[in-house]
Amino acid sequence: MGWNIIQVKRIMRSAVVYILIAVFAAWAIFPIYWIASMSFTPRSEIFSEHPEFLHSFTIENYINLFTSARPVTAALLNSTLIASLTTLIVIVIASLSGYALARFEIKYKNNFYFFVFATRIIPPAVFVVPYYIMYTNLKLYDTVPGMILAYTFINLPFAMWLMRQFFEEIPRSYEEAALIDGCSYFGTFIRVAIPLSLPVITAVGIFTFMMTWNEFLFALILTRYKALTYTAVLPGFFGERRIEWDLITPLSTIAIIPPIVFAILARKYLVRGLTAGLVR
């Protein structure tokens, strides 16, 4: 009677797996949980040396955040606007150019690979000075269209790559059927290729939105008052004598909601985006 050794081994193995999973899950979640939890903690407890895990619940931090002299609401609105418009523009341009590169015979296409790769390798910090000068010259500094343009540029290579990858894999027979029936080249693009590529377009959209929403360096460098995004506002909470964690935590909690929602809803699109057809 009782369990034999094989079953015991199996149970122990499962136990180990689940315990470890719990540990890693805690590691993955804890910082997020902590920031969110602290945002609902009274100020005095945030700055104390003995953080309580069962602390009193309050929303005073959120109130203080929005009534502070900082342009928080404007920044959040800017972020939303900029991220949304950039996503739209990137989707349009990336589909057009991805399709063109996949279908038409155009010289110098191989430079394209190099270019996409290079943008992945080069630290954005390298571009900071020239972009600052360029933006000032072109009067794009601290403007929302300026930021949209910059983020479009940042996201375009990767988006083009994804779209091109996808279009290469659609058999040409669909479009050739349409062409034979008298459709124009552009027409087949609109009527055949686009409808087929909605999943990829979704992936590109999600990825672009998240990248733009999360971006920091260019927001810091290229904005001042009018085009601030929430990321550019964050360093402003580093005061002379102390850091205003009681205001940072609510802003952070609000700011991480969109990307987390996207990540949860669109998990498989993330996988596709991040592994980007580099592995077959």
């Binding site: 040396e49 155009i106 394209f112 910090a125 972009y131």
Partner: protein
């Protein structure tokens, strides 16, 4: 209309943006790198290649590169090991796979700025929860951002938080791309778990692991947002990795010309690296035939 022309027209928006954001700034950078543009004084003189000469003997730059390499080694190895372990765990997991997998990749959704802020808060000497915990269990508080070595460790740890999630994602994708019947065949033939992983699964996902490693190296090289928030290069210059160093030099207003020279050199070096990597990974065979 000729097919080729349609294609070219479709490419115009992308090309326009690329031109604007690559050609113009590079031209600007090249121009300014030969000057000693000083924003504060407003003076600008042509000084030939002396910025570039200065670069060669800039010990601060060399130190920064060394530090960056040490950081990269630490951050990448940490995240590779952790990520692979996580992938194995999920692959072995029967119940709740999807939920745990989603939890594991959550760090990837968080903006790096906020990651830096969160860990700066948690690892803070006086008000950080981690230090409180260390004190409670008897080890005592640790000044994570106060000592150079600890700061290196702490920043590497923080970089591996989203990094391991990425490695996990790629490795799991690799595992799941292996046809189930191969795994079953191995198990039927009596392979132990160890054998299964070492002789079947890992060899088959080599390509995935290479991709994970490569991108981890690239991302840790570029690390900026979270490092900037946590230490801004400190204490002293202990965490002044290459991105931070470039930014600091760029905004040292006595040195915009020098900053441009630095930018150009780094761009060239990385372009060569990109070429080499493309050749190594065999990526350049693009299909060039198509509609005319």
């Amino acid at each position: 209309m000729k097919a080729r022309n349609v294609g070219i027209i479709m490419l115009i928006p992308a090309l326009a943006i690329m031109l604007l954001f690559i050609v113009y700034p590079t031209a600007l950078a090249i121009y300014y790198s030969f000057t000693d543009y000083n924003v504060v004084k407003g003076s600008i003189n042509f000084i030939g290649a002396s910025n570039f000469v200065k670069l060669l003997s800039d010990y601060k730059l060399i130190n920064s590169i060394t530090r960056t390499l040490m950081f990269m080694a630490l951050a990448v190895s940490l995240s590779m090991v952790t990520g692979i372990v996580m992938a194995v765990l999920i692959y072995e997991c029967m119940l709740g796979r999807k939920i745990f997998a989603t939890l594991f990749i959550l760090p990837l959704a968080i903006p790096y700025v906020i990651i830096g802020l969160a860990f700066k808060f948690m690892l803070s000497y006086d008000i950080g929860v981690i230090n409180y915990f260390l004190e409670v269990i008897g080890i005592g508080r640790v000044p994570f951002f106060g000592k150079p070595d600890l700061a290196l460790l702490a920043t590497a740890l923080v970089d591996s938080w989203p990094g391991s999630a990425f490695v996990f994602l790629v490795t799991l994708a690799g595992f799941e791309s292996i046809p189930r019947r191969i795994v079953e065949a191995a198990l039927i033939d009596g392979a132990s778990s160890f054998r299964l992983y070492m002789h079947v699964l890992f060899p088959m996902i080599k390509r995935f692991l290479v991709i994970a490693l490569l991108f981890r190296l690239l991302d840790s090289f570029k690390a900026f947002d979270h490092i900037y928030m946590m230490t801004a290069g400190g204490p002293g210059e202990a965490t002044q990795y290459i991105s931070i160093y470039i930014t600091k030099t760029s905004f040292d207003y006595f040195n915009l010309g020098y900053a441009c020279a630095l930018a150009i050199v780094i761009l060239l070096a990385l372009s060569l690296l990109a070429q080499a990597l493309i050749k190594m990974l065999g990526l350049q065979k693009l299909r060039t035939t198509g509609w005319r």
